[in-house]
């Protein structure tokens, strides 16, 4: 435990310095997020404004205020979502430097999990500023306060859990990349599917009714939608605890699977040349 904390802290430090070194890129990334949020809100408000009898039912599950808050929180939380295998790790897998990682007295999974998680957390620090900015916007564009103190606390708990879930899934895909020589292209497929199912494009509660049960309990609701439901107060009665448990169980599942697959493939790791 202390060893994993140390490894994580050390990785975080490295990623943090890297983030500072590339702060212009990170700042640009955040500004883009801010503009993107504003455009999305403009589109959503048009939809809500012109909703007719047929489409009104579609929007009934969330108010426009809730959707706006969902947009802003998401712009920050999306930083957790693995968009690819972590850059350094990908490089090492592709050029055979994986072997070099094995001379460290830390299990490979732990080292890479820390790296994956740390790089996401650093991006989150940058993108978190989007939420601050959104507090100063006016009218419909402004983010709302959390629905209640309890709601906010549950949001924080679920957010921490989301952070681990995202890193666990990122590492799961990384371990698959070690196991199967897919090339980089195909690793995007599970990552993109996860992004869609997380509600990053459309809040899950705006998806068709018949899908709701499935959407809530599939692994990627925990990426984003579950924590945000606590903040905006759209959790349905009786779903608070089960959804939190589902989030944790999926995390445990992906950590276990990633660990097993990595351990299995470490043995036959190919280290070419040098």
């Amino acid at each position: 435990m202390t060893r994993s904390l140390k490894a994580f802290a050390a990785m975080f430090k490295i990623e943090f310095f890297k983030g500072i070194q590339y702060r212009t890129a990170a700042a640009v990334n955040s500004v883009v997020g801010l503009f993107w949020g504003i455009i999305e809100i403009a589109v959503f408000s048009a939809f809500y404004l012109y909703a007719n009898d047929k489409t009104a039912a579609f929007f009934a599950s969330l108010t426009l205020r809730q959707v706006v808050t969902h947009v802003w929180l998401r712009q920050a939380v999306i930083a957790f979502h693995p968009q690819n295998i972590e850059e350094d790790i990908r490089g090492k897998i592709n050029n055979g430097d994986v072997g070099v990682e094995l001379v460290r007295p830390v299990p490979l999974y732990l080292l890479w999990f820390s790296k994956t998680a740390a790089s996401r957390l650093v991006l989150f620090l940058f993108r978190g500023t989007i939420i601050l900015f959104s507090m100063f916007l006016s009218g419909i564009y402004k983010i709302s306060a959390p629905v209640s103190v309890t709601g906010f606390l549950l949001f924080l708990v679920s957010l921490v859990s989301a952070f681990f879930l995202c890193a666990a899934f990122g590492m799961f895909v990384t371990s698959l990349r070690l196991a199967v020589d897919w090339g980089d292209g195909l690793t995007y497929i599970p990552l993109i599917a996860a992004n869609v199912l997380s509600g990053s494009y459309l809040p899950l509660q705006l998806w068709p009714d018949f899908m709701q049960k499935f959407l809530l309990y599939q692994p990627f609701a925990g990426y984003l939608d579950i924590p945000l439901r606590f903040y905006i107060g759209s959790v349905k009665a009786g779903e608070a605890l089960p959804s939190l448990i589902a989030q944790v169980l999926w995390t445990v599942f992906f950590i276990a699977a990633g660990n097993i697959i990595t351990a299995k493939n470490v043995k036959n790791i190919i280290v070419q040349g040098g």
Binding site: A10, K13, G96, G99, V100, V103, P105, L111, G274
Partner: protein, 264 residues
Amino acid sequence: MPQIELCEISKSFTVRRKKAAAQVIRALYKVSFTIEEGALIGLIGPNGAGKSTLVKVMSGILTPEGGTCVISGRVPWKQRTAHVAEIGVVFGQRSQLWWDVPPNDSYDLLKDIYAIKTPAFNKRLSELTGAMDIGGLLNTPVRQLSLGQRMRCEIVAALLHSPKILFLDEPTIGLDAVSKLALRDFLKEENKKSGVTMILTTHDMTDVEALCSRVMVIGRGNILYNGNLETLKQTYSSEKPAEVIQIYQNIDEIIANMYREMKI
């Protein structure tokens, strides 16, 4: 008891080629030897002989399919994390430093990974940075360092946790004369002072001449010679008398002669 003991270690790779049957390459075949603590061993052999594979097996990265290997009482690939905590590895062609940050940040990370106590770490770091003369490089991103500068930083990284054994796979590759000499002096001094066992692979015979108490020649996965350099020179230096050899004949010629005679 020897610190390193290998007995009939074999390792092969299966290489798949497009449209051709899979081919099995024997990188190591029944390799056996022992190394005592504090020795400085030179591992030589032509390209593809199996030197790097041997280093990778001994450092716990690769699992051989046959034979036994015990280093300081452990089987490297079975007790990997415990084993690697006590060794240092430098791959001349690969970097262990984090590319985007200065060496100092990498060293901090290594301090945490190897759980080195702060006072010990500070003492060791200043000792090593002094000896390797990298004080001025500590805050430059590794990406911007020259090969020789980077190699010096890599060596410091590999020695920070005061390993008992140091593996160096072609550490002098691509270094200029000054860096090469400085590196040799340093390795020799470190070996004498801390008693670190060192095993280095190289194509540069002058490295071996300057440093190694013993040389092992590996060819096509087999150990072909294991002994001191003088005897090896005498054996393979075409019929000339020893004094003449030492003055005139280039060590590289002797080695090339040997590779030819051994048909490797």
